[in-house]
């Protein structure tokens, strides 16, 4: 008679042995295999008998502290950040022609001056800027030919983006301070 191997007995007790019927038939006839199975079963019982331990302290508070400090953001806040970044990029691209046009009209070209000349030039520019600022009048914003957006629409878009930006930052900060 071929005895059941230890591997088969393990699989049998784990309900992972496919041919259970033939194994049971053999176990009913073979005292040696039945004894080995009983010994293995006793080990299972010992492992099952291990009592549960009790935690000596509540870990919820330290875990929450670490979770807050981990910088983990929920998906919707991450999306808010991505949306903000995309908006910032769009606004930069839209505003770039205006800024360049405005800057090129108001600033003279610099011709690789020396350090002293640069400092003097910066000071002069600064004075000129301050002077210009004191007499500043809101210029009419040119329209964007490609999108055909009027100055007023452009200002509305800028205002809307600013509000979105502030709301998004508010949400992010509120989440951080929780």
């Amino acid at each position: 008679m071929t005895h059941l191997s230890d591997e088969i007995l393990n699989e049998y007790l784990d309900d992972a042995f496919s041919d259970r019927i033939s194994a049971e038939k053999h176990l009913a006839e073979c005292a040696d295999c039945a004894a080995r199975l009983a010994a293995l079963q006793a080990l299972f019982t010992q492992l099952d008998s291990l009592p549960e331990m009790t935690l000596s302290r509540d870990l919820a508070a330290p875990v929450m502290r670490r979770v807050r400090g981990s910088g983990f953001l929920p998906r919707w806040l991450t999306l808010t950040m991505v949306l903000q970044a995309a908006l910032a990029l769009i606004v930069t691209m839209v505003a770039a022609p205006f800024v360049i046009e405005f800057a090129s009209a108001s600033m003279p070209a610099l011709e690789a001056p020396s350090l002293t000349e640069t400092i003097v030039e910066v000071q002069l520019q600064w004075m000129a800027w301050l002077d210009a600022l004191s007499q500043f009048e809101v210029p009419s914003v040119p329209t964007i030919p490609a999108a055909d957006i009027s100055s007023l629409s452009f200002l509305f878009v800028l205002a809307a983006v600013s509000i979105l930006w502030l709301v998004g930052n508010g949400l992010l900060l509120r989440n951080q301070n929780k």
Binding site: N10, A16, L43, L47, L50, L55, R57, M64, N175
Partner: protein, 175 residues
């Protein structure tokens, strides 16, 4: 008022409500701690790994399948965290002398239960890390061979042989 379901707490935790996650921790910390204690057999270490388990699980909450129960999932995460910890340490942890509480009132019976439990815990703690992991997942988390193979990312044949060898070692130490 009924306590919120784990599923609701997970949804709230995903939206960034740390308190909801704290409630999940409070519910499952003891069972997670027991996984860690069985694998590490040192209370301080087990508490640290319990915390670590919940921190790691929090960062994976978005990937958690809400149709499945949270308890078994977090205990599997705990077993993996402990296994990684043991394998990264490769040093012998000084084992606790702590004894389990017995259910009987008779002092001799309590003593016997505690001694026997301690013997089993020491035998478990003396096993190599990957043997401890398969014993934990099979006997205490009641996972199938296939599930263990998936969880530990090892071949099915390794699950079988590791379990077989682990039990053989345990039987030798406990007789």
């Amino acid at each position: 008022m009924d306590a919120p379901l784990d599923r609701d707490l997970i949804l709230r935790a995903r939206r960034g409500e740390t308190e909801a996650y704290g409630e999940l921790v409070a519910r499952h910390q003891n069972s997670v701690f027991n996984v860690c204690y069985r694998m590490l057999h040192e209370r301080g270490e087990a508490e640290d790994m319990t915390q670590e388990t919940f921190i790691r699980a929090h960062s994976r909450l978005d990937g958690f399948d809400l149709e499945r129960p949270f308890g078994p999932w977090i205990r599997r995460v705990a077993a993996n965290v402990c296994l990684n910890h043991l394998e990264s340490q490769k040093v012998t942890i000084e084992l606790d002398d702590e004894r389990d509480a017995g259910e009987s009132d008779r002092p001799e019976a309590v003593y016997e239960v505690r001694e026997r439990s301690e013997q089993i815990r020491r035998a478990l703690a003396s096993l190599p890390a990957h043997y401890r992991a398969v014993i934990e997942l099979r006997h205490y988390q009641e996972m199938s061979y296939d599930e263990i193979a998936t969880e530990l990312r090892i071949p099915l044949s390794d699950v079988k042989s590791n379990l077989f060898r682990a039990r053989k070692l345990l039987a030798e130490k406990l007789t």
